[in-house]
């Protein structure tokens, strides 16, 4: 076997693993989304776009299709919540990462470790913790009542706010770490140069620090936005299942709804959205490189 052949066939194990773990499952999901719902749950193989049509249209009793915004609203809400989570994460991560980057060397390692600490605990446990904090008679409510600030209050749990809090909490480390990395790389002389050239703190943050940490922010945005689109635990546990997002919509279709083809169609749509987002980001990154 010559070197050229080896370069192709030597990668065979990697191709096999990719095929088994990436191509095959996605292929199955796509096939299921094109199938027909089985009479007793499950699905019968077929080729039908009914499930995709169902995202936009509803079949009335006479078999006519009528436009329904029901699922679009869920998709819109998911995009909105994921976007908002990403923005809040970015706004919180920038100062946090800056503080870590400025810390003395021996503290730096400890602070980075603390940021990653939540990953050592199961996601479910961490989300449950927020139920204890936000719930009726929870930590926040008891504290506020104890201080005499409120007599009675609406539940904080099972709201958009609770979901948002959970999402920000879950994914913010994925924003802090890349932003920290890009701030670390930032030459401190550049910040001094900005001050030296009459740049106030605000000017320095806006015109020097922000643009130079943008690659880190964009990487963080991808890492936060993409999993937020498919979040399941937060809408179920903190949204109380009252607020539907794409993640728990899919989960419901495969579970209680017993409409696998429809669940698969939504999953494929979600994947499409993610890919569009990633492609836009890649285009932007390439434009940036050609500028530099």
């Amino acid at each position: 076997m010559n070197w050229r052949d080896f370069r192709i066939w030597g990668l065979a194990p990697a191709w096999v693993i990719m095929a088994l773990t990436l191509v095959l499952p996605i292929g199955i999901v796509v096939l299921v989304s094109l199938s027909i719902r089985g009479a007793y749950g499950g699905f019968d193989w077929g080729l039908s776009f009914d499930s995709y049509a169902k995202i936009l249209f509803e079949e009335d009793w006479d078999g006519n299709l009528a436009f329904t915004p029901q699922y679009l609203a869920i998709i819109g809400r998911t995009l909105w919540l994921a976007g908002l989570t990403t923005l809040i994460c970015a706004a919180l991560a920038l100062p946090a990462a800056y503080v870590i980057a400025q810390a003395p060397a021996r503290w730096k390692a400890v602070l980075v470790y603390l940021v990653t600490l939540p990953f050592w605990v199961s996601m479910i446990v961490r989300v449950y913790a927020w139920i204890i904090i936000l719930g009726n008679d929870g930590v926040i409510e008891k504290t506020l009542r104890g201080l005499g600030l409120v007599a009675d209050m609406d539940s904080l749990l099972f709201t958009n706010g609770a979901m948002l809090t959970g999402l920000v909490y879950s994914y913010i480390p994925l924003m802090i770490l890349p932003v920290f990395a890009s701030i670390e790389k930032l030459d401190p002389a550049l910040i001094e140069a900005s001050h030296d050239l009459y740049g106030s703190r605000w000017v320095t943050a806006r015109r020097v620090i922000l643009p130079l940490t943008l690659p880190g922010l964009m990487a963080g945005a991808v890492l936060v936005f993409v999993p937020c689109l498919g979040a399941v635990l937060e809408p179920i546990l903190l949204g109380g299942g009252k607020v539907m997002l794409m993640g728990n919509l899919i989960q419901t279709q495969f579970g209680g709804g017993r409409n696998w083809p429809f669940g698969a169609a939504i999953a494929v749509t979600l994947m499409g959205l993610v890919m569009i987002f990633l492609m836009l980001n890649a285009l932007r990154a390439r434009r940036e490189v050609s500028h530099a």
Binding site: S194, D196, L197, Y198, A292
Partner: protein, 356 residues
């Protein structure tokens, strides 16, 4: 005519923990001066420069800029700009934008900024590169843009933090001339920090030699080299032979000492009759063979380093080793072999007696 003081450094001290980086230094820098702070690393020169810029504050003392105390002003309020050692050009901005940055922060009008940027690019011969980014430039070009950026707002003082150290030798020499010309053309006070004595001697109006957190000597380049104030300065600037000496008598500025080379009467700094001292004798002040002035000394060549333009010989005279440098005036001229006897001489006035 009394010249206007641009910077007054008064009793400035700085401690980092128990380490005293600066032990209360004072000096004045005048308008339109090319002033160099020279010293080995750790002598406090960069700390001093960063204090003038506002990036560090002294533990004690004051710094005035044209008579005003500036220590309570943050860096962005001081009409002082810095050329950083790494240049610190903003990598995400074009060269134009880099130069315009300070002017925008000062609130200049758009048209005025445009004119000024064009003028600065022209001054450093970089006009065709206006739209490029720093990554597309060579080291020398970056240096020029850093200068243009720092000079654009016509600061009261320009600070230069070892700006030539990142360049290769040839470029460094060319940039010395450019820096000097730029200072003359703009009339702005330059405060230049370096550990390279050659740079300092070449460019400066005055040099401040710093050592161990103290001012060792301030003076014109030739004063620093020819009339060093003390042993530190004589040792740090250029090369010299230190000979142990005993002071026989002192008369005003002149002292007579006994040395291993015999008695010498010459200018002194801090010599006290009867006390031990040092005779500093630069290698190029010693002549060999037919170029030996004064009383003849007889020695033996014990070492030889060929440097191209010069040959450095080590000559042992009465058990004392002397470094002697000889210009290679003729190509493939006769050179003295190791072990050969040699006649040496020097003018006593070229040597200096320094306190030990």
């Amino acid at each position: 005519m009394e010249r206007k003081k641009a910077i007054e450094v008064q009793n400035v001290a700085k401690s980092f923990g128990s380490f005293q980086a600066l032990k209360g230094v004072s000096f004045d820098i005048y308008d339109n001066e090319f002033f160099t702070m020279l010293g080995p690393s750790g002598c406090g020169k960069t700390t001093l420069l960063r204090m003038i810029a506002g990036f560090e504050s002294p533990t004690a003392g004051t710094i005035r800029l044209h008579g005003r105390d500036i220590l309570d002003q943050p860096p962005h309020k001081r009409r002082v700009n810095t050329v950083f050692q790494s240049y610190a050009l903003f990598p995400h901005m074009t060269l134009e934008a880099n130069i315009a940055f300070a002017l925008e922060n000062l609130g200049w009008e758009k048209a005025r900024i445009r004119d000024r940027v064009a003028q600065m690019l022209d001054l450093v011969h970089m006009t065709p590169f206006a739209r490029r980014r720093p990554a597309q430039l060579s080291g020398g070009q970056r240096q020029r843009i850093a200068l243009a950026r720092a000079l654009a707002s016509e600061p009261e003082v320009l600070l230069l933090d070892e700006p030539l150290s990142a360049l290769d030798l040839k470029l460094r020499q060319a940039m010395r001339d450019e820096l000097r010309a730029l200072q003359r053309a703009t009339g702005i006070t330059f405060i230049f920090v370096t550990h390279d004595q050659e740079e300092a001697l070449d460019m400066s109006d005055r040099i401040c030699v710093l050592g161990a957190g103290e001012v060792q000597q301030i003076g014109a380049p030739n004063e620093i080299y020819e009339d060093p104030e003390n042993r530190f300065v004589a040792d740090f600037i250029g090369e010299t032979n230190f000979l142990p000496a005993e002071v026989v008598s002192v008369e005003g500025d002149r002292a007579t000492v006994t040395t291993p080379l015999g008695p010498v009467t010459t200018w002194h700094k801090g010599a006290v009759a009867g006390a031990p001292a040092m005779l500093s004798l630069r290698p190029e002040k010693i002549g060999m063979e037919d170029q030996a002035p004064g009383e003849a000394l007889h020695g033996t060549i014990t070492g030889r380093n060929y440097m191209g333009g010069y040959t450095h010989y080590t000559v042992t005279v009465n058990g004392t080793e002397l470094r002697v440098s000889k210009r290679n005036a003729v190509s493939h001229g006769a050179s003295l072999a190791i072990g050969a006897p040699v006649r040496l001489g020097f003018r006593p006035d070229s040597a200096r007696v320094l306190a030990r």
